[in-house]
């Protein structure tokens, strides 16, 4: 007889990444058939319902512990396992100390004042509804801040960036996935050598594609400053872009600034172009969108402007090679800009589908798919059984913060798939995941792997005989 146990723990909280670790640990216990420990956000409740658990009325501030056990007498041991896993996962302070950790960004910044690291910057990844409050602590203290959080209302972004502009503080984000600040990678950042390029990017994975391609071409990047996808909208007016451009212009190491963004709102475009023209450092605009060059073309244009050679972008084939097929392209992405780029290249004809699992609708109360691959893996299995699916097109994004070994879960899933699979592996040779090993594992599982996302997309279209 299996036994199901669901309990709410109001007021308990841990971030989604921690809870993912806890759920995994508990799933591995003897006698546990299924386990999910999560905050009761609508999405997580839906997931739990889908797993066959009945969740009582709960708020997103409640922690849900849901267990399916082989037998009811294993409950006490399983709950003890949950508590132990929560304790293990929330150990934060290292070394002997009786001082409790700071509870707010303001407190952390105040404690670090006057000690080494007093020019610390803040990295905010709390749920979107609380992100402004934490980020404003940094602005109040005159410190730069990266806001990784998404789901931040645009009026809050405007208020935050106005306050920051008054104080000469740089706000990267909200929804800023990637930054490299003076060589320090923040969020999902690739490991790059210092060099002549400075990037201002309104898109995280777009920036990572540029980092990966420039790195392959032997060109280093000294800083890559994210500004968030809405910075160049009419509402926000490019407040962070201006500050980021000013910082890179003041950096003697930067010879060329690349501004990568969707096309700005027209009134903002004029102002930002005028501002860029007033700087001492040349600015290359890499505008992404319909009728614009793709990211790979933008990287090539940067290389030409620096007088560097444009290399052939690497492609690794499986030994058997991919066959031509009928059907449509199913694009399953973790990178939003990579997904948009593929969609633009494929065009609206042909019935191809493209999903970004990093979109807000998939991440409320859940870790980003670059950390937690489970949602995409589920969709991948479903797409593979769809008779209309011709080619599967995926991205794998490497770098600090991302899954330590994405191929470990993805390669076995690909091995069982009949359709051809094309993967863009966006990363640099020095990334902690060991890019070449990742590529090998995916190729051994039958995938064809590209460094260029645009290249991967064109190849997928070619396999079904479509024009791009």
């Amino acid at each position: 007889m299996t036994h199901t146990h669901v309990e709410l723990r109001p007021g308990a909280y841990a971030d989604s990444v921690t809870l993912l670790q806890v759920s995994r640990t508990v799933q591995g216990l003897d006698g546990v058939l299924a386990a999910q420990v999560a905050m009761a956000t609508p999405l997580n409740v839906e997931v739990l319902t889908g797993m066959g658990f009945e969740v009582p009325d709960a708020t997103p501030n409640d922690l849900v512990v849901a267990l399916r056990l082989a037998a009811a007498d294993g409950l006490a041991a399983a709950l003890a396992g949950v508590d132990q896993a929560l304790r293990d996962a929330t150990k934060r302070v290292e070394g002997p100390t009786e001082v409790a950790p700071p509870r707010t960004t303001a407190s952390a910044l105040r404690r670090s004042a006057g000690t080494p690291g007093h020019d610390a910057i803040a990295l905010v990844s709390v749920p979107g509804a609380s992100a402004l409050v934490e980020a404003m602590d940094a602005v109040d203290a005159g410190r730069d801040v990266m806001v990784f959080s998404d789901n931040v209302p645009v009026e809050q972004e405007v208020a935050l960036k106005r306050a920051a502009a008054e104080r000469g503080v740089l706000v990267m984000g909200p929804d800023c996935g990637t930054a490299v600040v003076g060589g320090l990678g923040l969020g999902f950042a690739n490991v790059v050598s210092p060099g002549p390029v400075g990037i201002v990017a309104a898109s995280g994975t777009g920036c990572q594609q540029l980092l990966a391609l420039l790195d392959h071409a032997g060109v280093g990047v000294s800083s890559a400053l994210g500004v968030g996808g809405r910075d160049l909208s009419a509402e926000v007016g490019g407040l962070a872009t201006r500050e980021a451009l000013r910082r890179l212009d003041a950096d003697p190491a930067v010879e060329l600034i690349v501004l990568a963004s969707k096309p700005p709102a027209p009134e903002v475009a004029t102002e930002i172009e005028a501002y860029a023209a007033s700087l001492g450092t040349p600015v290359e605009l890499a505008l992404l969108g319909p009728g614009q060059p793709d990211l790979t073309a933008a990287a090539e244009s940067v290389l030409r402007r620096l007088g560097r050679e444009v290399p052939a972008w690497p492609v690794v084939d499986p030994t058997e090679g991919l066959r031509r097929v009928d059907g449509v392209v199913r694009g399953l992405f973790v990178g939003g800009t990579l997904k948009s780029e593929a969609q633009l290249i494929a065009g609206t004809e042909g019935g191809h589908t493209f999903v970004d699992f990093g979109d807000d609708e998939y991440t409320t109360g859940r870790a980003h798919p670059m950390i937690d691959p489970s949602l995409r893996l589920e969709h991948l299995a479903r797409a593979a059984t769809d008779p209309d699916t011709g080619v599967l097109l995926l991205d794998v994004v490497l770098g600090h913060g991302a899954e330590p070994d994405p191929a470990a879960a993805l390669a076995p899933a690909l091995a069982g798939i009949a359709q051809p699979v094309v993967v863009a592996v966006v990363g640099t040779a020095a990334d902690p995941q060991d890019r070449d090993r990742q590529v090998r594992a995916l190729v051994e599982a039958g995938a064809e792997v590209h460094l260029s996302n645009a290249g991967a997309t064109r190849r997928a279209l070619e396999l079904i005989g479509a024009q791009s």
Binding site: Y13, D15, S16, V17, T18, T59, N61, R92, E98, A100, P101, P102, R103, T104, T105, A106, S107, A108, L109, R110, R111, S112, P116, G117, H118, D119, A120, I121, A122, L123, V124, S125, V126, P127, A129, S130, L132, V133, E134, M136, D140, R143, D144, F148, P153, Q156, A159, R162, A163, V181, L184, G185, L186, G187, A189, R247, L248, D251, I371, G401
Partner: protein, 461 residues
């Protein structure tokens, strides 16, 4: 751009780990969701362009005040209090909702003023309400410990901020045990109050007028380094006050038996200085009142039924909720069932950054309020999480002379769920019983989201 020397990580630990992997120091914030339903108001208040500067002004104004004892006067003269007017601790309240100790103190006060012969006959006066009126001490620039009842004939300390000339007031402390402020009104209580009115008050007036103004803020600075936290322990402060006043008390020509009795009374009452610490704190905090856009708490006060706070950015509005029962130790055979909910204006000390907030500096009394020395250190450190500043004048030796946590921020309380820690005495819930114990108490959590909502409403206008 220069490489950041460190990163403060708030949110997913994994992003902090990625920074640590690059050999860059990471300070991790132990972030938790804010009090339920406050996210939007917190964001509105954080985004209020007036907030940062308003809080800086509020803190600076508070820290700038120096309180000196300049006079001692009957409440009728100091406050213009008329026959039948009664002041009490906490936010406004009527007789119908008044708790036992407040009723007891009002009954005793009515007898002291000669409105009735037997204190219990005064209940009818307060029920009808025709010839008597109740008003919070805070509405008259005054503060009162426990029940905080002030009547026209009671003598008041007069404290002044030399720079602005502003004044605050507080009654003279009666001692512990069966005393009016704990709701006792027996003949011994009234006899003591009459002696204070006839002998102690006039003598203190002569002494204060006959000597240099007593620097109350300065005594607070010193007593915090001598084991007092200036709420539940005022022993060093009381002795320093005696040091400053006794030559003048002896020299002003009053009958030596009365002088000796007065010196014995003050020296035998370790809490005598509390009634100077409290108005000194109020004098400082009142300097921040009315600072538009500021989220700093300027008063915490309880009337035995309600706990109320006032905030710099919301004028004189009270935000109230039910007063809580203290957790602590009981005198004699008394137990939790005998205690009245939290009462008194004395939480003005915590509002200013001493009392419970300075617990780390008063290890001698940690057991009295049911704790340990590590608890005391942790309490003071925890209060830094909800305050805007450190008071450089009031420093704690055992914490490397860190200033006490000062200026409670409504936003930070809502963000962290950490409630101000108050050291308090416990009054018996039945009128007439007096003190039953002492311990630790916090405000009801819901008053902070209420104040925050009002701040958010004002920020939006």
């Amino acid at each position: 751009m220069t490489t950041p020397a460190g990163v403060v990580n708030v949110g997913a630990d994994l992003l902090g780990d990625a920074v640590a992997d690059q050999a860059t120091p990471v300070t991790r914030v132990d972030w938790r969701p804010p009090m339920a339903g406050t996210e939007t108001d917190l964001a509105t208040v954080a985004a209020d362009p007036r907030r940062r500067e308003a809080n800086e002004r509020a803190v600076a104004a508070m820290l700038d005040v120096t309180a000196t004892l300049v006079d001692v006067l009957p409440a009728s003269e100091a406050l213009g209090l008329q026959r039948g007017e009664f002041l009490h601790a906490g936010p406004p309240i009527g007789w119908d909702r008044a708790s036992g100790p407040l009723r007891g103190a009002l009954l005793g006060g009515a007898a002291l003023e000669g409105l009735v012969e037997d204190p219990e006959d005064a209940a009818a006066l307060f029920e009808s309400g025709t010839s008597v009126s109740l008003e919070p001490c805070h509405h008259r620039s005054a503060v009162g410990p426990m029940a905080g009842v002030v009547t026209p004939s009671m003598w008041m300390f007069v404290l002044e901020d030399a720079a602005s000339g502003r004044r605050t007031y507080c009654s003279l402390n009666e001692g512990l045990g069966k005393v009016l402020r704990y709701g006792a009104y027996s003949p011994e209580v009234l006899t003591r109050l009459r002696w204070m009115g006839d002998v102690l008050g006039p003598l203190l007036q002569k002494a204060v007028r006959g000597t240099a103004p007593v620097d109350v803020t300065g005594i607070l600075t010193q007593m915090l380094q001598m084991g007092d936290e200036a709420h539940n322990r005022n022993r060093a402060g009381t002795l320093m006050l005696l040091r400053d006043l006794s030559p003048a008390m002896v020299a002003v020509g009053v009958d030596s038996a009365d002088v000796a009795e007065s010196l014995r009374f003050i020296g035998g009452n370790d809490h005598f200085f509390l009634n100077l610490a409290m108005p000194a704190c109020k004098l400082a905090l009142d300097a921040a009142r009315g600072t538009e856009g500021s989220t700093m708490v300027v008063a915490m006060a309880r009337n035995g039924t309600d706990f109320g706070i006032q905030v710099a950015g919301t004028g004189d509005e009270w935000f109230t909720g039910p007063a809580q029962l203290a957790d602590g130790l009981f005198l004699g055979d008394y137990g939790p069932d005998d205690a009245n909910p939290d009462i008194g204006d004395s939480a003005i000390t915590e509002t200013a950054g001493i009392g419970g907030f300075a617990m780390a500096t008063a290890p001698a009394i940690v057991r009295f309020v049911g704790g340990s020395v590590p608890d005391a250190l942790a309490t003071t450190r925890r209060m830094h999480e909800i305050t805007l500043a450190e008071n450089p004048r009031w420093s704690v030796p055992v914490l490397e002379f860190q200033g006490t946590p000062t200026g409670i921020d409504v936003s930070k309380v809502c963000r962290t769920g950490i409630l101000p820690q108050i050291n308090t005495g416990m009054a018996g819930k039945v009128a007439g019983v007096g003190q039953v114990g002492a311990g630790l108490v916090t405000p009801p959590a819901e008053i902070f989201p209420k104040a925050l909502a009002r701040l958010a409403e004002l920020a939006g206008q």
